[in-house]
């Protein structure tokens, strides 16, 4: 199978990731519950993962790293943790993991403004955010890279806007972590960054990260045993325990630690260049095909390792099915991001192709050949 659905999850991982997970299966007890060897083994591997993640995201303290089960959980924790009253603002390209928790807050009277803007248009995006701020805007959420179109939003400029307004910003780094720098030491308004462990960080499924800037007080949405302050009936105030209740996924986090290590060693820029080159080639070849409309940026720096297209010959679901028969994995439909589709005008969905550091030029070439046979 040729796997081109890395925006859903990366299928091919560095071998060290699997080794780390398997090794932990036999060695790890429950972190933070005792001081015997297997408990401390789990604690040690989790702390190492925190250190590496802190380095990747530009935070000083490992305690600013909170492990979650995925980016969706991280986003729910950040959004529901920060929301109190008033309103919020989001970009027009948000995933349902942002839109749905925000919609659920409407019952509490929290309104949402969508800063809709044209695809791949940074000026329009900044204008939309600027126009969308209200006097009672409490927080902002912005995806770094659209999971549908690969559109890299101008988060540095949005961060600057939010900073001037005194509005905390939450970044969804689901499609950027591991390929684009998300450096909290350089971002002033950003209070939280949310990322999955199983996409660009090459960790196992069931892992995610919430980076919560030191000093930011978020309400909790999950309370329970933390292994600390055990005689207390209330959740600890200090990090990361405040947000890590219950047994941690130590084998998964061990794998994630190795995935992050891979990214740190290889370098985000190197990974991005590899993915970008593949996408650039895809864009140039898809442009030559009849019956295809691709959604790509003329300015290549505005697009990551994801691209969407539609065809006037078949609907996107049929194309996806026909490619699947040819053993090519892509994702068709709305990609859990109806807002992004409605903003861009792709109201019937798209076929999405997404690459990783392990995708080869041969695989892309084979995909193009198979697609051409289907479409033309």
């Amino acid at each position: 199978m040729i796997y081109l659905d890395n925006a859903a999850t990366t299928l091919i991982k560095p071998p060290r990731v699997k080794r780390a997970v398997l090794e932990m299966f036999d060695k790890c007890g429950n972190s933070g519950r005792s001081a015997y060897e297997s408990s401390m083994t789990a604690s040690d591997v989790i702390y190492t993962a925190r250190e590496r993640a802190a380095k990747l995201f530009g935070v000083e303290e490992p305690e600013e790293i909170i492990f979650t089960s995925n980016a969706t959980q991280a986003l729910n924790m950040a959004i529901k943790g920060i929301a109190k009253k008033g309103s919020c603002i989001i970009s027009g390209y948000e995933h349902n993991s942002v839109v749905r928790p925000i919609n659920s807050l409407k019952e509490k009277g929290i309104e949402c403004t969508v800063a809709k803007s044209k695809l791949f248009d940074w000026n329009d995006c900044i204008r939309a955010f600027r126009a969308g701020f209200k006097s009672n805007t409490e927080f902002a959420v912005c995806t770094h890279v659209s999971n549908v179109f690969g559109y890299i939003l101008p988060i540095e400029e949005i961060d600057e806007l939010c900073y001037k307004k005194g509005i905390p910003l939450i970044i969804d780094a689901s499609q950027s972590a591991g390929t684009l720098p998300v450096d909290m030491s350089k971002l002033k308004a950003v209070v939280c960054v949310c990322a999955p462990g199983h996409k660009g960080l090459y960790g196992p499924q069931g892992t995610g990260i919430l980076v919560c800037r030191k000093g930011i007080k978020l309400n909790t949405i999950l309370e329970g045993g933390t292994g600390s302050l055990s005689e207390s009936f209330t959740q600890p105030e200090f990090m990361p325990d405040r947000f890590e209740s219950g047994t941690m996924n130590a084998p998964g986090i061990a794998g994630l630690a190795e995935g992050i290590s891979y990214v740190l060693e290889k370098g985000e820029e190197s990974i991005f260049v590899h993915e970008k080159d593949l996408i650039d080639y895809l864009v140039s070849e898809l442009s030559k095909m009849q019956n295809i409309r691709i959604f790509s940026s003329v300015r290549r720096k505005k697009q990551g390792g994801v691209i969407s297209f539609i065809s006037n010959k078949f609907d996107c679901e049929k194309i996806g099915k026909l490619l699947s028969i040819e053993k090519i994995a892509v994702r068709s439909g709305f990609h859990c991001a109806p807002l992004a589709h409605y903003t861009a005008g792709t109201n019937k969905g798209t076929v999405r192709v997404s690459v990783s550091d392990f995708t080869t030029a041969d695989e892309v070439e084979t995909f193009l050949c198979k697609l051409k046979k289907i479409i033309e």
Binding site: S31, G32, S34, A35, M40, S43, D44, Y47, R50, P62, E63, T226, G227, S228, L229, S230, E231, P236, F238, P240, D241
Partner: protein
């Protein structure tokens, strides 16, 4: 024998102190001491020989990574708190 225990709020806090000390070549270990030392349950502590205590305190102060409490335990004597 005299052992110093840096009492911590969590295992993560203990690991931070332990790694910082080890990085500075100070021998340390993470333990769950008995109640007569911690006065509480489920407490992680970083144990350091009293020989290295002064140096350990200096390192922790310099890096602003402070324990919840410092308890000194001497054989045959009750544990006592020392204020850093």
């Amino acid at each position: 024998m005299t052992t110093a225990y840096f009492l911590c709020r969590s295992v993560t806090h203990a690991q931070k102190i332990d790694r910082l000390l080890k990085f500075n070549y100070i021998q340390s270990s993470i333990e769950r001491p008995e109640r007569n030392i911690t006065q509480s349950s489920c407490v992680y502590a970083v144990a350091v020989s009293d020989v290295f205590l002064g140096e350990a305190i200096e390192v922790l102060k310099r890096k602003n990574v402070l324990p919840v409490k410092l308890i000194i335990s001497e054989t045959g004597k009750p544990a006592r708190e020392v204020f850093i």
